[in-house]
């Protein structure tokens, strides 16, 4: 019957006892939970992978603007050619005939003629 039931004060005594005697995790349970935590923990290397990709730096952006590394190679070739043309001082860089069939004489052994002449005279 309701009038025989515990009132709120009586129930609160049970609740207080329940709170005071709350179950406490054993060391073994805490160890198992910690083991799970470590097994599930993201390693620093994985964190690096998970991070958003870094923004391209100045060099990467500059290379990309000229068509990537292939473009850079072409630019380097053109630059080297320009330097060489300027160095040899060609009046007309488009005179390919002059470049391909140069009328140059190369003396591989300077003074060889006088050496031969001297030998013949002996």
């Amino acid at each position: 019957m309701a009038e025989d039931d515990l009132n709120d004060k009586g129930l609160e005594a049970f609740f207080a006892a329940g709170r005071e005697n709350a179950p406490v995790p054993s060391d073994a349970l805490l160890a198992r939970v910690m083991a799970d935590a470590e097994a599930e923990m993201v390693r620093p290397a994985e964190v690096a992978v998970l991070r958003p990709a870094a923004r391209p730096g100045f060099l990467r952006a500059a290379v990309a603007s000229i068509g990537g590394w292939a473009g850079l190679g072409g630019l380097a070739t053109a630059t080297a050619a320009g330097v060489w043309i300027g160095f040899v001082g060609l009046a007309d860089p488009l005179d390919a005939g002059g470049l391909i069939t140069p009328s140059l004489s190369v003396e591989l052994m300077p003074g060889a003629d006088s050496f031969m002449t001297a030998s013949a005279e002996e």
């Binding site: 039931d5 515990l6 004060k9 009586g10 005071e20 939970v33 993201v42 964190v47």
Partner: protein, 192 residues
């Protein structure tokens, strides 16, 4: 020690640190939340071994959700209470019957038992009475009167309205009062 320096750290902060691989945060979270999970599980299931399994499983889910946790969106404790409650519900549905003999009986047969009644005996009697309540009433009473949650938070945990929580708690308390009233003398009450 670093652990002590983190006493004032929020749950959100610790979860974020754990998600970045901080083992000290893992330890702090373990000690902060495992007792909560175990308390609720044991009171819901009235079985120490099953309660430990539930607590460990709930904590495992905490570790796995940490990287995706949105700080400030919800309380970690509310999330954990809900996970524990759901895990307990799953187990209760599987076994269908509650082992009423799981909780130790208060001392009996001793003429001086009322005078020597200690809080542990009352707690054991309460655990038995809780185990006899319908599951939802039991959950509401545990969260309200043993865990000290406010009704709106209980409503969030149980995914019901606040009025439903009030009703569940009230009916649960009536059930407990009826179950325990027969043991008033035994447990040293004179009902003032």
């Amino acid at each position: 020690m670093a652990l002590d320096e983190r006493d004032g750290w929020s749950d959100d902060d610790l979860l974020a640190l754990y998600a970045r691989g901080d083992p000290v945060a893992a330890r702090r979270l373990t000690h902060r939340f495992t007792p909560l999970a175990l308390r609720v599980a044991q009171r819901m299931l009235a079985d120490a071994a099953e309660a430990e399994d539930v607590a460990q499983e709930a904590m495992l889910r905490l570790w796995r959700m940490a990287p995706g946790w949105q700080p400030g969106q919800a309380k970690v404790t509310t999330w954990l209470y809900r996970v524990v409650a759901n895990l307990c519900t799953d187990r209760l549905r599987r076994r269908r019957t509650v082992p009423l003999d799981a909780a130790p009986e208060p001392e009996d047969g001793d003429p001086g038992v009322a005078a020597r009644m200690i809080a542990a005996d009352r707690a054991a009697a309460l655990e038995q009475a809780l185990a006899a309540l319908p599951e939802r009433q039991r959950q509401a009473v545990i969260l309200r009167h043993l865990e000290g949650l406010a009704n709106p938070e209980i409503a969030e945990v149980m995914e019901v309205g606040v009025e439903a929580v009030e009703s569940l708690v009230a009916r649960g308390k009536r059930g407990l009062a009826a179950a325990l009233s027969g043991r008033r003398d035994e447990l040293g009450f004179d009902d003032g």
